[in-house]
Every structure is written in C-alpha cells, then in structure tokens.
C-alpha cells in the first residue's frame, strides 16, 4: 500500500465532486460476472523487507557468473560493466522518463540516442543506425523483412552457421509473411536467383570470423542484399568492419548490459543511408529549435504503426532505450582505444584458453581462427551435453554444448588465469 498516496478523506471529497458515494458506481458498465468476488486469489501486500527476502531466496537458487567459474557465451557474453554505467542509468530522469515524444523536455534521452546511433554506425562501418531494437534475434528477423520490402522478393538465404535462436525467430517472422528460406552452406555459389538477402554471421555460431568479399560479389550478381549479423559486438574492436554490407544488425548486450537470463538485451540495426525509409524501429535526428539552437527529435515516424497502421514497416514501437543508454555510457568510457584494447584482451585470453584446453589428450579446436569463443572437439565417445552438466554440478559453467561432441567456450576480460586453469583441470577430470 506504500505506493498509494491517496487518503480516505481525499477519496471521499473526490467522490463528492464526481457525484457518487461509492467507487463501484464508476465500474457500473462492467458485466457483473467479470468482477472478482472479494479479492484476487493471491497473497496480500508485503513490506519491502519481506519482498527483498523472497526475491533473494529465488536468486539464491541460481549459480551466478559473478561468484562462480563461468565460460558460457553462445550469443550472450559476461563482461565487466564500469560502476558509472549503472549509476547513470538509474538516474530518475533516464529511468522514469517516457519515450521522447515531447522533445522540449526529453533532450537528454534524444541526445544520447543520437550518440548511440553514431557509435553503432561507426562500429559497424555503416552510414546510419536506428535507436535499437528488442534483441539480436528480432533485429535479424527485421533485417530479413526489410530486405524483402526493398527487393520485393520473398526468399532469404542463411550463408553460414547462424545462432539457432536467431534463425528460429527469423523463421517465425518469415512464416507470417509466407516467405521462404534456405541455407547456402558456406558456399556463395549456392545463392539462388530471386533471393532477397544473404545473411552472414561473423563470428559465426561456432566462433569463427568470416570475410565478406565473396558474399558481397555473389549478392551483387543476384541482386540480393548482404546482411551481416553480429552476436558479440566487442569483436568489432578487432575484426574488420562489415562496411560492404547493406544491413548490419545483431546484439550489443556485451557493452553495458547484464546477461539477466536472456533479457532485456540490446538489438542494434545499421544500414545504408538510402534505405532509411525502409528501416524498422525508432530513429532520432538532429534539427533546430525556434531559437535556432541545435536539438534532437524522433523522426521519420511516419514509418511507425500509429500512423501507417496496417501499412507500417514493422509492428515494433519500443526500442530498448535504457539499454541503449547503458551501451552509450560504457562505450563513452571505453573510447576508441579502450574499445580496441578490450577486444584485444578478449582475444588474447581466448588464445590462452585454446592452448590450455588443447593440451588435454584428444581435444582439438574445430576452427583455427576465432575471436573470444572457441569450439572445442571432444575426444571420440565423449558427450558435450554430459560434460556441461557434470561441470555445472560442480558450479562451473563450462560453455555450451553446440552438438554431441562440440563445446563452445567463451572467454572475456573477466576470465583469470586461475579460472582458466581450473576449467582445464575440471574438463580433464570429467572426461
């Protein structure tokens, strides 16, 4: 009840003004059968201390990455977030603001969105970016739909090993639009005629970075758009930017956003300037106010559903504003040098771990090249799912069993030498 400021005296006074004697008179148009008899069948209100204890007791049943050995990635990465980031995003003015539809009193939100869009465009090597989407998987689905709108074609090509959940979500979107898809099995010559877009993930789901030139050339020959999907945005501090792509989208959770059991995360979406009117999601643009001073507004909003209704470019109306802020603050702190160093440190740790685990008899790397996630082939007859569960039982989150004999292990700046050694020993012991 602590969130309710209204007093009984005030309620009574207000009812007099309205001309009623009981609040139920205001609900007179609701069918009788819809009223709850008495109260809903859930517990009554609780004090803050009690709520905290209940929620803590749920949390205590989880094995968290902060206090345990942790090497799981597969599209979601455990990175260190500077303390200033959480401090900034918990400021009331950011946390409890609405979507900036009244720009005169929302310049704070709008300016950071403009900075966020600039950062995403720079990092992806693209001309423009939007103000974020729900997550990487929905961003890829939206990219496929956008390519279909631009090319007026309805066939989507998966070029290589793409995150399985991204594919599942994209398939859901395609099904709603009676569109088809196929896999090119890592060979650009498999691209079919009438393909709307070719989607390349880099690093792919097994951690291997990819070049884009052969795909670009094949796309140009078939009139298809090239879409590049990124799971781990930190990789772009070290790997070449997919500047030749038509659309670059993916997940930016790694910078500033906690894993939170899968959400909220931060989908990003960048493309060429000429496609902006086909781009899904909100965008912020620069303009001037009545005094000629620079300011920012949400723009190109006629693409959105509240105006276009059934002709909208997408049904998305929310971005992930606060997560975009966390990204922007974290990236501002990292800066050019810090971002690149962070990427380099991730890679160097992955190199160390690769050397360490491949020293175990019978273990080899599925790919010689990687960024911060390695695909480890287990010795013949050993099961990756079983290994993951065995180590989880010792509170070591060892990675992701990508298939029966392949374990994906992710290493970020958080991994210590001792931790990596412990993981190697534990794997050795469990095999």
């Amino acid at each position: 009840m602590r969130y309710l400021p209204q007093t009984n005296a005030a309620r009574k006074e207000m009812m007099e003004t309205i001309g009623i004697s009981n609040v139920d008179e205001l609900f007179c148009q609701v069918p009788d059968k819809a009223f709850i008899d008495g109260k809903a069948n859930v517990p009554d209100h609780k004090g803050e201390l009690e709520v905290e204890r209940i929620m803590q007791s749920y949390a205590d049943q989880n094995v968290d990455a902060l206090t345990n050995r942790f090497f799981l990635g597969a599209g979601v990465y455990f990175h260190h977030v500077p303390a200033s980031v959480d401090y900034i995003i918990q400021r009331s003015e950011f946390l409890t603001a609405y979507t900036p539809y009244q720009p005169e009193i929302a310049q704070g939100t709008l300016q950071y969105l403009f900075e966020f869009q600039t950062m995403i465009a720079q990092i992806t090597g693209q001309e423009v970016a939007n103000a974020s989407l729900y997550d990487g998987a929905t961003a890829m689905g939206e990219a496929a739909l956008m390519a279909m709108r631009i090319t007026r074609r309805d066939k989507v090509c998966y070029a290589n090993e793409i995150h399985p959940q991204y594919v599942e979500v994209t398939e859901t979107y395609l099904n709603n639009n009676d569109a088809k898809s196929y896999s090119a099995k890592e060979d650009p010559s498999n691209i079919e005629d009438d393909t709307a877009c070719v989607i390349v993930q880099s690093p792919d789901f097994f951690g291997k970075p990819h070049a884009y030139d052969a795909w670009r050339k094949a796309c140009d020959e078939k009139g298809a758009l090239l879409v590049v999907v990124i799971n781990e945005i930190v990789s772009l501090g070290l790997l070449p930017a997919p500047a030749d792509a038509d659309i670059v989208c993916g997940e930016a959770q790694s910078i500033g956003v906690a894993m939170s059991y899968g959400g909220p995360h931060l989908g990003f979406f960048a493309c060429r300037q000429k496609y902006i009117r086909q781009m899904p999601g909100r965008v912020c643009g620069e303009t001037i106010d009545a005094d000629g001073k620079r300011g920012y507004v949400l723009t190109l909003s006629t693409r959105e559903q509240h105006i276009r209704r059934e002709k909208a470019t997408s049904n998305i109306c929310t971005n992930q504003g606060l997560c975009a802020l966390a990204f922007t603050v974290h990236m501002a702190l990292l800066g050019e040098d810090g971002f690149k160093d962070l990427a380099r440190i991730n890679h160097e740790k992955a190199c160390q771990l690769a050397d360490s685990v491949t020293s175990i008899d019978g273990i080899s790397l599925a790919n010689d090249t990687f960024f911060n996630e390695i695909a480890v082939k287990l010795p013949a007859g050993k099961s990756a799912p079983k290994l993951v569960q065995d180590l989880a039982d010792q509170n070591i989150i060892a990675g992701y069993a990508a298939n029966e004999d392949t374990l994906l292990i992710a290493v970020t700046e958080i991994a210590t030498e001792g931790g990596m050694k412990a993981l190697t020993e534990a794997i050795k012991g469990a095999l």
Binding site: R277, S301, T302, I307, R308, K311
Partner: protein, 124 residues
C-alpha cells in the same frame, strides 16, 4: 480549364488526349501540413483505377495517392523529391505522374471544379 477533374480522395487530374496528369488538390495539401517526403513510382508501372501509386508524408501523417484512371505511368515528376513545396494544385509543377489511359470514360465520370468545390464545402 474544363479538362481538369477532381476525385473524392482529393486528387486532381488534367486530361490531355489519352494522357492524364495527376496531382493533389489544395484541400489535400492543407490537410497534410508540411510535407517531408514523397515516395514516387517508377515509370512503366501499370496501374488500375483505385490503386495507390505514391505516398506523401508529413511529419505526423502518411497518405497514399490513388489513381482515378487505369493505364500506364509514362512520366514521373522526380523534381518533387527535392522540392516538396512544388506539390500543389499547379498543373505545370505540381503533377506527380502522367498516366497513359486505357479507358477515358473513367476520367469523364469524375467531378468538375464546381462539383468538387461543393463536395469540399460539405466536408467542413
């Protein structure tokens, strides 16, 4: 000016032989407010009476423009893209497309100036 006809969707058309010039009326222009973008069709496209062939956008609204006549788009006024303010009830600069009509009875069935004016009056 008797060869200018009007539609209930606030397009004007000028009939010149078998070619129709299509634009939007002053009433539509005011209703839309400041325009920011126009999505133009490509030439050669076949359109049937009632199809939408272009979209004009203001800051807060997007409206389709419908053709009152069937035929092929033979010319598009690309100049509008960068000069949005030219889009108005002006035959020389404000037309959006020229359509080669397949059935000129469609055009003659439309409202003339007087009929359109009273139609608009009825809206207010």
């Amino acid at each position: 000016m008797s060869n200018i006809k009007y539609t209930e969707d606030h397009e004007w058309i000028k009939v010149d032989g078998d070619t129709a010039w299509i634009g939007i009326t002053t009433y539509a222009r005011h209703a839309l407010g400041d325009l920011v973008y126009i999505e133009l069709p490509e030439t050669g496209r076949q359109i049937a009476k009632g199809d939408d062939f272009a979209v004009v956008e203001s800051v807060k609204a997007a409206s389709e423009i419908y053709t009152p006549v069937t035929g092929e788009i033979v010319e598009v006024n690309d100049n509008l893209q960068d000069n949005m303010d030219d889009l108005k009830e002006d035959i020389d600069t404000g037309w959006i497309v020229k359509v080669k009509m397949t059935d000129d009875s469609e055009a003659s069935a439309l409202m003339d100036k007087a009929a359109y004016d009273s139609f608009v009056e009825g809206l207010e």
